[in-house]
């Protein structure tokens, strides 16, 4: 049965379930409720099947690849290669998609009677199916087709809530950036084709030595730009904080948790599998990109007071952390230290999985809060924990996981990343270990700043008094939304608890890549989840730490609450405000909380403070009527990178416009001249 599942037939079954879900949802678009249930139920079904498929593939190592021959044999082959890496990514996609779809069952209700629910279900299922196609395709043209399907379906999902003008603009920016990225990817694949004469990944891999060295470097740069736009590295990230907030929350969760990981997938596939062997500066570039993205991502997140933009910037930060692991893997690969390279790759993959879980959890809980309070501005929240206690608990678990606090899963993947960087510092010569020192420094600071940012986020949203009237009308989210969030929180805990087993599984996934075929492992996991790096340099016991922390906290709770001073009375009174009446305007604001850090980093963030005063009498200027202070952070990327490029293109276009005079005779003479020139070349 399992053999049937993890084969071609299972794969087709998987895709067809999504296809039925999408088409059926479109047909049922007249009836909102049925369209919603059909689309999401099939998404849940397909994703569960995908999860079983992926887990059984990874556990039994039954990889397979197959072709679906087409007429254009030479160019376009529908060829699939479901190896361990693809299986892992299918698992991540399916895991997140299951719970996002559960969440959507309740969440989409607030789009009823406003938009066409059938279209939402259609594009949602197509998006998940296209993600699975991307990670399994083995032919460059087929890959690009799947990439296009993903871009288009996600675009329509981003602009779904089209009544809001900013969402449409965000979608447009997203579309342009995605197509620029696709252009670079296409160019890279065309360069590869020119030298290896094939679009098929396995043929390219065996003919890789046909590509000259400098062309390989150009391919590297193009693929970094192309896939980096999708992954959201700085400075190619400007679409991410615009598009992820604009989409419906379950789509944001899917996009942020899974879709940007396809960029990471292609980085691994290209740099660790197809384009091997690679020079060392590739790895150094990736580590530097990772260090910069993680630090800048978290700094920009601290400046935000829109909850979803904050989470989007944290996605950029975590992609930076994943790239730290990937880059160090590439450097170790060049230097021949294959077991350390495998360790770093495992760290990157573990963080990919963990980030998908806790980022979707955070987006889903933020979505439920936004659903009830009808605004994304954190300055108008406050005290939501009293109205939505379970959502608050899930957001708390997500915040603790993303800040890498033990015993949740984020801690273990950051621990592994730290270990791979520490090994780099120790084992490499001073020529190379400075790069690892820089990377470790950026990771250390990122962890601390992310913690500060989530204290700000959780505190502003859920704690203290409500800052606006809308909060008081909030109710707890519906059951399906809570199921989606609750299971993700549970996975966050479980992945932390059983991180030893997960690491062993990831090692198998890493060994699925051909460069790691006979590598001895630097991680050993023993029975009580003790795993050791490099025979005792570091070790950690995930299971017992978890149990011990819970037991000690429980112990101190029971001893101090029930044993000491049993007769203590607790009185509830108002907050001590030094004798004044505290109202919600006197609480700390989101901007105020982060202001110290913004001022510390003002060289990077370039904040600006503007104030304007309106007077009652503008001539005498004695009595002010109102004063507005605007504290904002300048968008340096727009100003220094994108606007100049935009200007250059505008100027060029104006110049080129001159050949379009509107005169048909001129156009005919163009054709004549070009024909003569071509005849000369042929003859």
């Amino acid at each position: 049965m399992l053999q049937l599942l993890t084969s071609q037939i299972g794969f087709y079954l998987l895709l067809s379930i999504f296809l039925i879900g999408s088409l059926g949802s479109l047909f049922l678009s007249k009836n909102d409720k049925y369209a919603n249930i059909w689309g999401n139920a099939f998404a849940i079904l397909g994703s569960s099947l995908g999860l079983i498929f992926s887990v059984s593939l990874m556990l039994t190592n039954r990889t397979f690849s197959f072709n679906f021959n087409s007429l254009y044999q030479h160019f376009l082959d529908f060829s699939f290669n479901v190896d361990m890496l693809a299986g892992f990514f299918i698992g991540v996609i399916s895991l997140i998609a299951i719970f996002c779809s559960f969440f959507a069952l309740g969440y989409v209700k607030h789009f009823y009677n406003k938009y066409n629910i059938g279209v939402l279900g259609f594009f949602y299922n197509i998006l998940i199916a296209s993600l699975i196609l991307i990670v399994t395709s083995s032919n460059a043209i087929w890959f690009l087709i799947a990439w296009e399907i993903m871009s288009i379906s996600s675009y329509f999902l981003v602009v779904y809530d089209r009544n809001d003008e900013s969402n449409v603009k965000a979608g447009f920016l997203y579309l342009i950036m995605t197509y620029v990225g696709t252009a670079f990817i296409l160019f890279a694949f065309l360069l590869i084709y020119k030298y290896t004469n094939s679009f098929d990944f396995s043929i390219i891999k065996s003919n890789i030595n046909l590509i000259p060295f400098h062309i390989k470097n150009i391919i590297f740069i193009f693929s970094i730009i192309g896939f980096g736009i999708k992954a959201g590295i700085i400075p190619l990230h400007i679409w991410l904080p615009a598009a992820h907030p604009a989409a419906p929350s379950h789509v944001s969760a899917l996009m942020s948790g899974v879709m940007i990981k396809t960029g990471i997938y292609m980085f691994i596939r290209l740099f660790m599998d197809i384009l091997q062997p690679i020079p060392v500066w590739w790895g150094v570039t990736i580590i530097i990109i990772g260090a910069v993205s993680s630090l800048l991502g978290v700094l920009y997140a601290l400046t935000e007071h829109d909850i979803k933009k904050l989470l989007a910037y944290h996605s950029i930060e975590n992609i930076g952390i994943i790239l730290l692991g990937l880059g160090s893997s590439m450097i170790f690969n060049f230097l021949g230290m294959m077991s350390l390279s495998l360790l770093s790759l495992m760290a990157a993959l573990f963080h990919t999985l963990n980030h998908a879980v806790f980022k979707s959890l955070l987006f889903l809980s933020a979505g439920s809060v936004i659903n009830e309070v009808h605004t994304r501005n954190m300055e108008e929240y406050g005290g939501v924990i009293k109205y939505m206690p379970q959502t608050a608990l899930f957001f708390l678990i997500g915040s603790m996981a993303i800040s890498a606090l033990p015993p949740f899963n984020g801690f273990f993947s950051e621990w592994l990343t730290f270990q791979s960087l520490f090994q780099g510092i120790i084992q490499l010569s001073p020529n190379f270990n400075w790069i690892f020192i820089v990377a470790t420094g950026s990771l250390a600071f990122t962890g601390g700043l992310a913690l500060a940012c989530f204290v700000k986020a959780f505190g502003s949203i859920f704690l203290a008094k409500p800052r606006s009237q809308d909060v008081k009308h909030a109710k707890e989210s519906s059951l399906s939304m809570r199921i989606g969030m609750g299971f993700l929180a549970l996975f966050s805990i479980l992945l932390g608890l059983f991180s030893g087993y997960t690491t062993i599984l990831l090692e198998k996934v890493g060994k699925g890549l051909s460069i790691f075929n006979e590598v001895f492992s630097s991680v050993s996991v023993s029975g009580d989840q003790l795993f050791q790096i490099n025979k005792g340099f570091s070790s950690i016991r995930s299971f017992s730490i978890f149990i011990f922390i819970i037991l000690v906290i429980l112990f101190s709770f029971l001893v101090f609450k029930y044993l000491i001073n049993k007769n203590q009375k607790l009185k509830i009174d108002k907050t001590w405000g030094c004798g004044t009446d505290l109202n919600s305007r006197m609480e700390i604001t989101t901007t105020g909380f982060a202001k110290s850090i913004i001022l510390i980093f003002k060289g990077i963030l370039k904040p600006s403070l503007q104030s304007e005063i309106k007077y009652h009498d503008s001539e005498s200027r004695y009595l002010p009527k109102s004063m507005t202070v605007t504290f904002k952070v300048n968008n340096v990327y727009s100003k220094y990178l994108y606007k100049p490029i935009q200007k250059i293109f505008n100027l060029l276009s104006i110049k080129v416009k001159k050949i379009q005079s509107g005169n048909i005779n001129l156009y005919i003479s163009y054709i004549y001249i070009i024909l003569i020139i071509l005849l000369f070349f042929i003859l």
Binding site: K569, K571, D573, K574, W576, G577, C578, G579, T580
Partner: protein, 175 residues
């Protein structure tokens, strides 16, 4: 800086000694009703005082500040001043209870956890003192919050305040 430290460490002993003879000489001014039983052993080694200025002319505050200098050194008895009424055991009210501060004093009293002691310091705090009958002052502070002890004087010297506080603790310990 090390010269100052060496100088300090060389000459010490300007501490004012408090012994039982002095304590027995001071008489306690008891106002409130019976103190709850469990205070007796609770505040023996450690007392946290929160001082509330109900509208005073700062004469009492200057005497209270003098309590923490190195002549009187109230810290050696385990008594220290705290910033928040939630951390406090004893509330020291100074100054006549002005109208504008009556709500603040009540809030501070409610914010202090039980068991607590309320002491008024200075004649002004007890019944208005020289401000008695003024339009800005509420005469009886015990209308707003229940007062337990009173330290007389206008203002009382730091030694008087210290002896009275120690007496309060001693009395409660004996009960």
């Amino acid at each position: 800086m090390s010269n100052i430290f060496l100088k300090i460490l060389k000459d010490r002993n300007n501490l004012i000694n408090i012994n039982n003879k002095d304590l027995n000489k001071e008489e306690l001014f008891i106002i409130g009703k019976k103190i709850k039983e469990n205070i007796n052993s609770l505040f023996n080694g450690s007392l946290a005082i929160r001082q509330i200025d109900a509208g005073s002319d700062n004469s009492c505050e200057q005497e209270l500040v003098a309590l923490t200098n190195n002549f009187y050194d109230i810290e050696r008895f385990g008594i220290h001043f705290v910033a928040s009424p939630r951390h406090a055991d004893m509330l020291l009210i100074t100054g006549p209870l002005t109208r504008n501060m009556s709500k603040a004093v009540k809030d501070a009293y409610d914010a202090t956890p039980d068991p607590k002691i309320v002491v008024t310091v200075g004649d002004d705090a007890f019944d208005g003192g020289i401000f008695n009958g003024s339009y800005a002052v509420l005469d009886k502070i015990s209308d707003i919050i229940p007062v337990d002890y009173h330290i007389p004087g206008n203002p009382p010297s730091p030694k008087t305040i210290l002896l009275n506080i120690l007496n309060i603790l001693e009395t409660n310990r004996k009960k």
